[in-house]
């Protein structure tokens, strides 16, 4: 959805996260108290989640996290999410920093759980490493 290259350790979320109200853009930490991975850091990770969730403001929070260097290195989704894409596209327009957003199929998504890190190339291909 947003082409680019990135690599990093994988963080696979057990549940979708709304960046607004769920992610602190200044620290990169998950602050949604209801989220099973509350307290973990997304900074520099290849962040995988099945779908986006909740607020329209998620695009702003993602753009702000990108500006501050606290964003994930890339985002991998199972279902397309235009609110996430927006945050990435606008940050690229404003600051020239690209955080690729890719959508993968279910079998690829399932394999993410057993991998430690992932690499994304400009064609959107995801390569896993253990």
């Amino acid at each position: 959805m947003v082409p680019g290259e990135a690599a990093g350790p994988l963080l696979v979320l057990d549940e979708p996260l709304s960046f607004w109200g769920g992610l602190d853009s200044e620290t990169g930490l998950i602050i949604d108290h209801h989220h099973p991975q509350s307290g973990e850091s997304v900074t520099g990770t290849v962040l995988a989640m099945s779908a986006g969730r909740g607020s329209s403001s998620a695009s702003s929070v993602l753009a702000e996290a990108i500006r501050l260097g606290m964003a994930p290195a890339a985002i991998v989704l199972l279902e397309p999410d235009e609110i996430i894409v927006l945050g990435s596209v606008v940050a690229e327009e404003l600051y020239g920093i690209t955080i690729p957003v890719v959508v993968v199929d279910e079998s690829t998504f399932a394999r993410l759980r057993s991998a430690r890190s992932a690499k994304i190339d400009t064609t959107g291909r995801v390569t896993l490493a253990n």
Binding site: S57, A63, L86
Partner: protein, 431 residues
């Protein structure tokens, strides 16, 4: 099918209409590409969420557009700001942030947006009509527009909202298109008492449950009373849009595209059927309460120290204020409790005229406009707060660091007057 732009879109993209229009069109085209729209369509109204301050990047984007002379070309309303513009003294946050947040609001007004400052633009006098294509951001407004008004908006996020308002265009995709507006998953209510169905406090709990299970699909709810009120559909939708990504729901017999079961599903069969029983509702309600231990004896739960009561998320309507005035009557909010009711300035004007605003203030209620008590530091330090909103209950612990008790508005008023937690659990117990 790849995206095909018409001549005028193409001209905008190459800069014929100036740099602001060009940037706005580029953002729209990139999103349209990403979501595989094959063309753009005209929108006739917009609602902007980007005016809420989340950091420098939001202001950088508004500056980029406004400095280049951007103007909206369709009627455009503004969502809540980061603080009460009318009553700035209510703000307890960082003064530097307040300066930048105010600057952000000014830039959006400069671009020609109406200073409505409400998350409930559907409560304004002018609102979209059935079938109209619009570009609304703010999750609760999106779900209301699609479900209750029958207007058509995508699940727009920050930034594309203003881009659509500047260009009058949006990707022809998602809920703009007939095929994508049919129900996917059926929620069938079973064994829910009439007493519960007739209480406002039921609807946000149901919405939260539906949203958490539905994810991004379109839920159809069977078993609600016919012609459920807009206020109830509003709190249901707002909760579903917080716990999930619900941008549209159908309530059979209540919402305009769901007169019958067949209409709601467009003649198809549901992809999944979920039966909702009283037990499910009770556990959802308990999940949204963080301030009391659910496993203790009910008689011991009154110990939670409620320092604040917050209602009006989404912004209270005139009707909801009427109910609040009735419930408070001649009683007063206890000295140890802050009571906040959030609303838009249009609704405030109406309740001022009716004399309700003064009556509420005399009873100890603070009316907050232009913003909301869970997104910005307004509350004085309290351990626990009570609310009638599932959305407030969901977000407040993360956003402003309070523990929460969810109750009906009746419970909220009773608690505020008594100065300690009062919840009538009987309607849930025998649900």
């Amino acid at each position: 099918m790849p995206l095909v732009l018409d001549d005028s879109d193409q001209a905008a993209l190459t800069g014929d209409r100036g740099p602001a229009w060009q940037l706005a069109m580029r953002v729209i085209v990139r999103i349209a590409d990403a979501i595989q729209a094959d063309h753009l369509l005209d929108i006739s109204a917009a609602h902007i969420d980007s005016c809420l301050y989340h950091g420098r990047s939001g202001l950088d984007f508004a500056d980029r557009l406004a400095d280049a002379g951007a103007r909206v070309i369709v009627p455009t309303t503004l969502n809540v700001a980061s603080f009460d513009l009318r009553h700035p003294d209510l703000y307890r946050g960082d003064p530097q942030t307040a300066v930048l947040a105010r600057r952000l609001t000014e830039r959006y007004e400069e671009m020609g947006c109406r200073p409505t400052w409400t998350c409930a633009p559907y409560q304004l006098e002018e609102r979209p009509e059935f079938g109209q294509n619009i570009a609304w951001a703010e999750s609760n407004a999106i779900v209301f527009a699609n479900s209750v008004l029958g207007a058509r908006t995508g699940r727009y996020g920050d930034f594309i909202d203003i881009c659509a308002a500047i260009t009058g265009r949006a990707p022809a995709a998602g809920l703009h298109l007939d095929d994508n507006r049919r129900g996917d998953v059926l929620f069938r209510l079973e064994g829910v008492s009439d007493r519960l169905l007739d209480n406002d406090g039921f609807y946000p709990v149901l919405g939260h449950l539906v949203g958490a299970i539905t994810g991004t699909r379109i839920p159809v709810i069977e078993g609600l009373p016919a012609r459920s009120s807009e206020d109830r559909l509003k709190t249901l939708g707002a909760a579903a849009a917080s716990s999930g990504s619900v941008a549209m729901f159908h309530a059979i017999g209540s919402t305009p595209e769901a007169a019958t079961f067949a209409d709601a599903f467009g003649g198809r069969t549901p992809g999944e059927t979920i039966v909702v029983r009283p037990d499910d509702l009770r556990s959802t309600r308990d999940q949204l309460t963080t301030a009391v231990d659910q496993h203790t004896d009910p008689s011991e739960r009154d110990s939670a120290d409620i320092g604040a009561v917050c209602v009006g998320t989404p912004h209270y309507s005139v009707g909801e204020f009427g109910h609040l005035v009735e419930l408070i009557g001649n009683s007063r909010v206890s000295a140890g409790v802050q009571f906040y009711a959030s609303t838009g300035r249009d609704v405030l004007m109406e309740i001022e005229l009716r004399g309700w605003a003064d009556r509420l203030r005399e009873s100890g209620v603070t009316i907050v406009t232009d913003t909301c008590t869970y997104i910005t530091p307004i509350l004085a330090k309290v351990d626990a707060a009570m609310t009638d909103s599932a959305k407030w209950a969901y977000y407040a612990p993360g956003n402003i660091g309070v523990e929460v008790v969810l109750g009906s508005v009746e419970d909220c008023v009773a608690t505020a007057v008594a100065g300690h937690l009062v919840r009538d659990d009987s309607m849930w117990a025998d649900a």
